[in-house]
């Protein structure tokens, strides 16, 4: 089936070439990072994780969100999702590959990455994250590819696929839970030390992932002959609305605990995130955009008249994605480090090379999605 | 059985084989002489018997393994004392023990490593005394 990704229209070729160019630029800057060290990024002694790890965290959510298609279809026999579960699985595959790439580019000594497996430490959450992420990748490659292969031949998928797909449901929850535990188990970082970190992660994941999937379905409907169906898209939109509302609710819950209890150590991080501390308010401006966008998107998704009209739906989905990307792909990670254990406020600004490498990995992920979806559409056309 | 796209496949295989075997036929007939390692440092000359921590043939083949054992013993187990097979006790230290005798890193370590294309990362951190003093 792979060969179907190699041929396509002129527009497809230009799009692939654009993504390859971006990936190549990212790779070029990665070589420079290898040569110079991670100092080429905006990270510092005080803010020692930045854009890369934040992207990783955000994309684990995108990967986990495939479960929002798989669960209704396979556990509740919700037929409308039957056509698009494979799209969810391929989105998960691409997202996990991006996650792993982001972790690798974040390593100071990538050549020693194999030490993770040579000297595993069972007490380290990062070790378990490597295990669950790779397991999830494997499950989704196998199930997605098998199901699509069977569709091509117009035969039902083999019986062993279904248990594997059912397994992917708790597994999806596990990848984002374990990723949340990376943060939520650190005694010294009060911003992350919250029991609702994993639920928060899952809620925002189930909003951002399906929002992205809606956008992909709409793109496929416009540029190809594949139509996911209005019912599937509308159900996804409702899922996004509920998940977004839950996600916002969780953030408000965090704000209540910090600001009603008035514990300075808990308040200061949230102050930095939403208002800025001592004039350091770059992140706060982004978070303002995120908050406004989330509220607008929520309103558009809650009102049936706007949700059902494509232009509003598109705006809402872009809004959800953007808002949660800012919250999780930028704010959440950086704010944990500010102020530092020695009360220092250090601003973090990603550098040009850092953006280029990040963009390159996103291009790589989009390229994978493009190719998977191209294969998917070609198979659907033949079947 | 019919081979589809036979021409392309065979051409591809040929290109692959040429590329994969390139180093062998390119270097055929050319022999690079093994390097001459210099062992006459002042410290070695003072030795009554020219003997390394373990016998030379063993060191030649296994010094990297021995160094790994030394590294883990010193760093991870806090053990800085090594008893050789002949009962002599040595301090585990790359720069103090090894390089005390082999103070001519360029003529001793580097020549062979360059010849073998080995790039040990030791010197990214460990300091070569002759270069500092």
């Amino acid at each position: 089936m792979l060969e179907k990704a190699l041929t396509g229209s002129r527009g497809y070729g230009i799009w692939v070439a654009l993504l390859l160019t971006l990936a190549a630029i990212g790779f070029f800057f990665y070589l420079r990072q290898l040569n110079y060290g991670l100092g080429i990024t905006g990270m510092s002694r005080d803010v020692s994780w930045g854009l890369y790890i934040a992207q990783f965290t955000f994309l684990v959510g995108i990967a986990a969100s495939a479960v929002m298609l798989v669960l209704p279809y396979y556990l509740h026999d919700y037929k409308a999702f039957g056509k698009i579960t494979v799209l969810g699985e391929f989105l998960a595959v691409s997202a996990v590959i991006m996650c792993i790439t982001f972790v690798l580019v974040d390593l100071g000594q990538p050549g020693r990455a194999i030490n993770l497996l040579l000297y595993p430490s069972l007490r380290s959450v990062l070790f378990w994250d490597v295990i669950v992420l790779n397991g999830y990748l494997l499950i989704n490659i196998v199930t997605g590819w098998t199901v699509l292969g069977c569709e091509k031949k117009s035969i039902p998928p083999p019986a062993w696929v279904k248990p594997l797909i059912i397994l992917s449901i708790p597994w999806a929850i596990s990848i984002h839970t374990v990723t949340a535990f990376i943060y939520a188990g650190l005694a010294g970082r009060s911003f992350w030390l919250t029991a609702i970190m994993a639920p928060r992660f899952l809620a925002s994941a189930f909003a951002s992932g399906p929002a992205l999937l809606i956008l992909f379905c709409l793109i496929l409907r416009r540029f190809t002959r594949f139509d996911a169906g209005e019912q599937a898209i509308q159900t996804l939109a409702k899922i996004v609305a509920y998940a977004l509302a839950t996600s916002i609710f969780f953030v408000l819950v965090e704000l209540f605990t910090a600001f009603y209890s008035q514990i300075p150590g808990h308040m200061q991080h949230l102050k930095y995130l939403f208002a800025g501390l001592e004039g350091h308010n770059a992140i706060a401006i982004w978070m303002g955009v995120s908050a406004v966008t989330a509220m607008v998107a929520l309103i558009l998704l809650m009102i049936p008249q706007t949700r059902q009209r494509e232009p509003f739906l598109v705006v809402a989905c872009i809004g959800v994605f953007l808002s949660l990307w800012i919250e999780k792909g930028l704010g959440l990670v950086v704010t944990g480090f500010v102020p530092s254990p020695l009360e220092r406020i250090t601003d973090y600004t990603p550098t040009g090379p850092e953006w280029a490498i990040t963009g390159g990995i996103w291009a790589l992920g989009l390229l994978l999605i493009t190719m998977f979806y191209k294969i998917f559409v070609s198979v659907k056309k033949e079947a | 059985m019919k081979l589809y796209n036979g021409g392309k496949i065979i051409a591809g295989i040929v290109v692959f084989l040429i590329a994969a075997t390139f180093p062998f036929w390119y270097g055929r007939g050319k022999a690079v002489r093994p390097p001459d390692l210099k062992l006459d440092t002042p410290v070695i000359q003072q030795l009554k018997e020219k003997l390394c921590v373990e016998p030379a043939p063993y060191m030649r083949a296994n010094h990297m393994k021995l160094l790994t054992v030394w590294r883990d013993a010193a760093v991870r187990e806090g053990n800085r004392s090594y008893t050789a097979i002949n009962g002599r006790v040595y301090t585990i230290s790359l720069t103090s023990t090894c390089l005390e005798c082999h103070s001519n890193k360029k003529q001793f370590c580097d020549r062979c490593h360059n010849y073998a294309g080995a790039k040990p990362a030791c010197w990214n951190c460990h300091i070569i005394p002759e270069e500092v003093r």
Partner: protein, 263 residues
């Protein structure tokens, strides 16, 4: 595969003759005498009398620290080839000097006398009883020794910086770039680090192995730093702790820090 006893036995024939020969010059030199404890760069190249303890700990009599004094920092960084980047972004340090309200935010208040607020407190790795950095390290590159020292294996660190996120004290530094060119004067007796690994105070483990006290302790002219075995009631550090009230940084986190401060 690491060489084993058996590997050596195979080649034993080669070396049997050398049993009767005198040891290498380095061994002979070592027996000449122990390095003096007051010498910052004390060297002793042979088998030694290491300093050993059940539980190493340090007491910091911060009240003795003169304003602006950085002797302990200078000595530590000089001995351990800690680079001086001169900017906070790349900064690497093992010991820092901090204001009391930043080191003990929960224990201080605005009405403390100026004499205390003006103090500059040395902060370093706390060599925790229950170190979060060790718990999170995915490769066991950082680990706790039986004598309590939290060590870094720079050969194994992959530079993921999970330990930096986990450390509640900001004791760890990342080599964001090659540190070698930024080391003011190389000490040939201690390695530098390579770019891409995390580093921190090692309680002068390499000096204890040679029988000398940590560089910061030796360098302090005010005798503000005391080092010793916490489990030994007669040790220097226990004697200092006996004198009165002392506190530790963020003990409520359960890390069990082993740097005790008297203010």
């Amino acid at each position: 595969m690491a060489p084993t006893r058996r590997d050596f036995l195979k080649i034993a024939g080669f070396s049997a003759i050398s049993l009767a020969l005198p040891p290498l010059p380095s061994l002979a030199a070592a027996k000449a005498g122990m390095p003096s404890a007051s010498d910052l760069f004390a060297r002793s190249p042979g088998p030694l009398q290491p300093l050993k303890a059940k539980r190493w700990a340090m007491a910091v009599d911060a009240g003795k620290c003169p304003p602006g004094c950085r002797d302990c920092i200078a000595a530590c960084h000089r001995v351990h080839n800690v680079p001086a980047f001169g900017n906070p972004k790349d900064d690497v340090h093992w010991i820092g000097a901090e204001r009391v309200e930043d080191v003990f935010p929960a224990e201080t208040h605005p009405r403390l006398p100026e004499s205390i607020r003006a103090l500059s407190i040395p902060v370093l790795c706390n060599h925790c009883e229950n170190p979060p950095c060790v718990r999170v390290c995915p490769t066991q590159a950082t680990f706790k020794r039986a004598d309590g020292i939290v060590m870094m294996d720079y050969h194994r660190c992959i530079g993921c910086r999970f330990c930096m996120a986990a450390c509640p004290y900001g004791s760890r530094s990342m080599n964001y770039r090659d540190p070698r060119p930024f080391i003011p004067k190389l000490n040939p007796d201690f390695p530098t680090r390579t770019k891409g690994v995390v580093e921190k105070c090692n309680f002068c483990e390499e000096r204890l192995a040679r029988g000398v006290l940590p560089a910061c302790v030796v360098a302090c002219r005010e005798k503000a730093l005391t080092f010793g075995d916490l489990e030994d009631p007669g040790s220097d550090v226990r004697r200092v702790l006996e004198r009165g009230f002392s506190i530790r940084r963020r003990p409520e986190l359960g890390t069990g820090p082993q740097i005790y401060y008297r203010l």
